[in-house]
Amino acid sequence: MNGCRPGHPTRRSQETDDLPGLYIHIPFCLRKCAYCGFYSITDHSLIPAFLSALRREMDHYQGWAASFDTLYIGGGTPSVLHEGDLEALIADIRIAFTITADAEITVEVNPADITDSLLASLRRSGVNRLSIGIQSFDDGSLALLGRRHTALQAISAVRRVRDAGFENIGLDLIYGLPCSCGHDAASCPQEQHDVATYPSWLSTLDKAIGMNPDHISCYQLTLEEGTPLAQKCSRGEVILPEESVLADFFCNTSKFLEENGYGHYEVSNFAHPGRESRHNRKYWNHIPYLGLGPAAHSFSGRERRWNRSSVEAYISDLESGREPVESRETLSDEQLGLEALFLGFRTRRGICLETFRSRYGQDLLAEKRETVERLTREGLVEIRDGFLRPTRAGMAVADSLALI
């Protein structure tokens, strides 16, 4: 790989004080969860070759940006790496790139992997935020999802993280799970399943806020083609809640968490004021980010590109001096505009009308006046301080709002 370095950020972001973010993908898991469609493998013999390939990739993109103010190590399960490897990796990241002193540095961890020594090692590396994959505090649901921890383990893991001195922690939860009653579609009517799944979710939420995390992500379960859970569903062995029930989950979750001090700042994300994920916000706000590792995505302000997802291909590309890029696309203004809409409507902050007009040449209020008025009457959007914001109900239909 020589001189040519395509895809460097070409434009500063809309919030000019935001620097690009850095994402590192660790594609290994101890085992695959039943619902997960993300790329990861359970064959750990490739870890050494992967780590050296990752270092080559880091070297290649040195100078991609002057500095980064967020670093996010996700996966897969980064916590399956030996703590020494993880510590060394973070040190190498700091050698290859400038991570600002006040950067948000997040690592995703599985509750089952959390040990005091891992936590100490992460603290030494300057990691200041942990995103803990709890998913549920209900053992039945955890089993259904194929998670390798129990509710009790999750509770104790969160306690240890706090004890280790982490001040900024986020819990990841999943809602809209199939009912864990064990009955199939034939023997149990849909409504009964719908009713049955609700208390379990409320109890998970309740336990979550009891631990006073700074951040809570509530993802709606999506069936990814080919996963064991999707197969179970198509065979009718488990039944997912209906859309109207999911809409209730969404709205009630939002109300509940907001009443308990968590701002609903993005479709799936809630945080105490000031604890919003700085890294994820870059995705929603069109701020450039560099993604390294298999299947990682990068955005430079105009170009998106993503890496080969196969670990073997990723390694062999880098070993033979090629960029491990699967594909790239240069976005037209129209595409950027559509992205700005659907990403904007995912956030409570909404779309800055003036920025949108100056950047994409479209005056949303003037051109879509009738629709916007209608949506306002229907309680789906509001206009405040120059922003077109989705309401809570509006966020639930963000995709359709984007197509107005």
Partner: protein, 598 residues
């Protein structure tokens, strides 16, 4: 003339008509193998995809028979749908014989019989050909029995072939030579040529496809079209070897083309007679009938900016489809558009699809209608084919709707179901005959409005494909009519209005609401759909809003996946018409007519 044979292949759908035509073409070497393409005569994409023939085609096959003599075998390929029955009859009128193709596994089917009757009407020589004899499920014995009992044909005359495997092709060509009589006629008599089709060529204008019955025509002749008395100077004549092949002249017995500076195909009429200006034939060839549109609907561009493009496209389209008529129209809900006339719903469907495909237009069609007749208090007689022009009910003293005579041929076992269907469709004055044991001919008089909608599909379905159906317009009859309007979120969508029989109004209103509920996708807000007659709401339904659609997460910075998904949806949305705040898909406008029997 002794060396000419004019023939057609008739068959039930999927019995292998196009494949046999392909083999005959290959065998006689009209096209080199490397240039060959399956279904070579069906040169529109839409024909290949649907496996139907829309336009007729002619190909002249040069053939040296076993008797050592050379022949020209003119194969006239015909369309196969009730909407185009007249075109078929004109093509058959140009032949002396037909190959009646029957699938060895499926045996005699509805269209086999219907086509046989058509051929008999024209007094044609009939050669039964059993196709697909190489199929494991082939049952030649059974088919022979049917040829004898159901078709009443001499089984000794049959041939066997597998068009797919190329078996028995030469025998068929020999039989055409031996058993189909050569054309009769007098090359020296005054010219009498039958027009059976016309196509538009952007360089040469209209290419008239015709069969010469008497006389001779050559470049330089002045011809006269009997129907409109128009005269034209002949520029070129010739015959078809897949492409046009210029000849010095065409004379009695020939099938070929005439190019004579005729600007559009609408200037010629299928079934009309061509003669010479200075030496006309004493009387035109029999059977001319002006084909008139019976179904009317308006076409609107989905994006109003596309109006000019639509106008240009219709102009071009019309050049090649004489049975399609249109004029300017406008709709309060859908803007500027065109009111169009069609031969039937399949014709409408084909026009819509070809406009979208060949001219890259996104269009909406209003609910189709027949042409009603109103007598007003002041004595005016008003024909209305557009619900938007429905007269003030207070001014109407008489309303009438067109009736047809529907002739149906079906196995006896389906009689009950078909009678029920006909009564459902307000059929009256039925007669029943048994032309052969087990086979019934049922005739009903039915309002055309009931037939154009889903009658044909339902008839096919209740007879499991074994019934055949044909109709003629008979007259206008008094009928109690009403105008049914549809409101979407309180706003009248004039393109969804229909003129209905008063007794059926309530059920039609309900049906329309239900269909729309199925066709209009749920949106961010509730949609109320109402059926209204004379200010009274007679039916109502609600499409609830969806409340959650945001699922695919944007995890790990993968924005592209989500954006591509939305781009696709956005494209789909562009094919819907925004009325007020409601996106209505194209399909909704036709769906309101469909009943829910299936």
């Amino acid at each position: 003339m002794d060396n000419i044979r004019n023939f057609s292949i008739i068959a039930h759908i999927d019995h292998g008509k196009s494949t046999l035509a392909d083999r005959l073409i290959q065998f006689t070497g009209v096209v080199e193998d490397r240039n060959f393409q399956d279904q070579i005569l069906d040169n529109m994409d839409i024909e290949r995809e649907r496996g139907i023939t829309i336009k007729s085609q002619v190909v002249s096959l040069p053939y040296r028979a076993k008797n050592g003599r050379s022949y020209t075998l003119n194969l006239i390929d015909t369309p196969g749908h009730v909407d185009f029955t007249y075109e078929v009859s004109r093509s058959l009128a140009s032949c002396e014989g037909v190959l009646l193709l029957i699938d060895a596994a499926q045996g005699v089917q509805a269209q086999t019989l219907a086509n046989l009757y058509l051929a008999m009407e024209h007094d044609l020589a009939i050669i039964p050909v059993i196709n697909k004899i190489d199929l494991p499920s082939a049952d030649v014995e059974r088919v022979l029995e049917q040829i004898d009992s159901e078709l009443g044909l001499d089984t000794d005359t049959h041939l066997k072939c597998s068009a797919k495997a190329g078996i028995g092709i030469e025998e068929i060509l020999e039989a055409i030579v031996e058993r189909i009589p050569p054309p009769k006629g007098d090359p020296a008599a005054p010219l009498a040529a039958l027009i059976f089709d016309a196509k538009y060529d952007s360089f040469r204008g209209t290419v008239i496809h015709c069969r010469i019955f008497d006389g001779t025509v050559k470049a330089g002749d002045i011809i006269r079209l009997v129907y409109n008395n128009a005269t034209h100077r002949v520029e070129e004549v010739g015959h078809f070897l897949l492409q046009r092949q210029k000849l010095d002249s065409l004379s009695a017995g020939d099938v070929g083309y005439i190019i004579a500076g005729v600007k559009t195909v609408s200037d010629v009429r299928t079934g009309d007679t061509i003669t010479l200006e200075n030496r006309p034939c004493p009387k035109p060839l029999p059977g001319f009938k002006e084909v008139k549109p019976v179904v009317f609907a308006s076409i609107y561009p989905i994006a109003s900016d596309d109006y000019t493009d639509l106008a240009d496209s219709l102009d071009k389209f019309k050049l090649n489809d004489a049975s399609f008529v249109y004029e300017k129209d406008s709709s309060a809900a859908l803007g500027q558009g065109f009111r169009c006339g069609f031969l039937g719903l399949l014709h409408l469907d084909i026009v819509q699809e070809r406009l979208e495909r060949e001219y890259d237009l996104s269009i909406i069609l209003s609910v189709p209608s027949v042409r009603y007749r109103f007598t007003l208090k002041d004595g005016t007689i008003l024909f209305v084919d557009n619900p938007a022009h429905y007269p003030d009910p207070m001014s109407i003293i008489k309303s009438e709707e067109p009736y047809i005579r529907a002739a149906m041929m079906l196995p006896e076992r389906y009689l009950g179901a078909v009678m029920k269907l006909c009564m459902d469709k307000r059929g009256v004055n039925s007669t029943l005959n048994y032309p052969s044991p087990g086979r019934a001919e049922l005739i009903y008089e039915v309002p055309l409005a009931e037939v154009i909608f889903d009658f044909y599909d339902r008839f096919k379905s209740v007879t499991q494909g074994y019934g055949s159906f044909d109709y003629d317009l008979i007259d206008y009859r008094e009928s109690s009519l009403a105008l049914l309007d549809i409101l979407v979120n309180g706003e009248k969508v004039d393109a969804l209005s229909q003129i209905v029989h008063r007794e059926r109004a309530r059920s039609r209103g309900l049906q329309a609401c239900e269909r729309l509920k199925e066709e209009i996708p749920r949106q961010m807000f509730k949609i109320a759909i109402q059926g209204v007659i004379g200010g009274e709401i007679i039916s109502r339904t609600t499409i609830s809003a969806f409340r959650k659609d945001v699922i695919a997460k944007c995890y790990g910075g993968d924005i592209s996946r989500k954006r591509k998904l939305l781009e696709k949806q956005k494209k789909g949305k562009k094919r819907m018409k925004m009325i007020g705040n409601v996106s209505i898909p194209q399909s909704a406008f036709l769906a309101v007519l469909k009943s829910d029997t299936e």
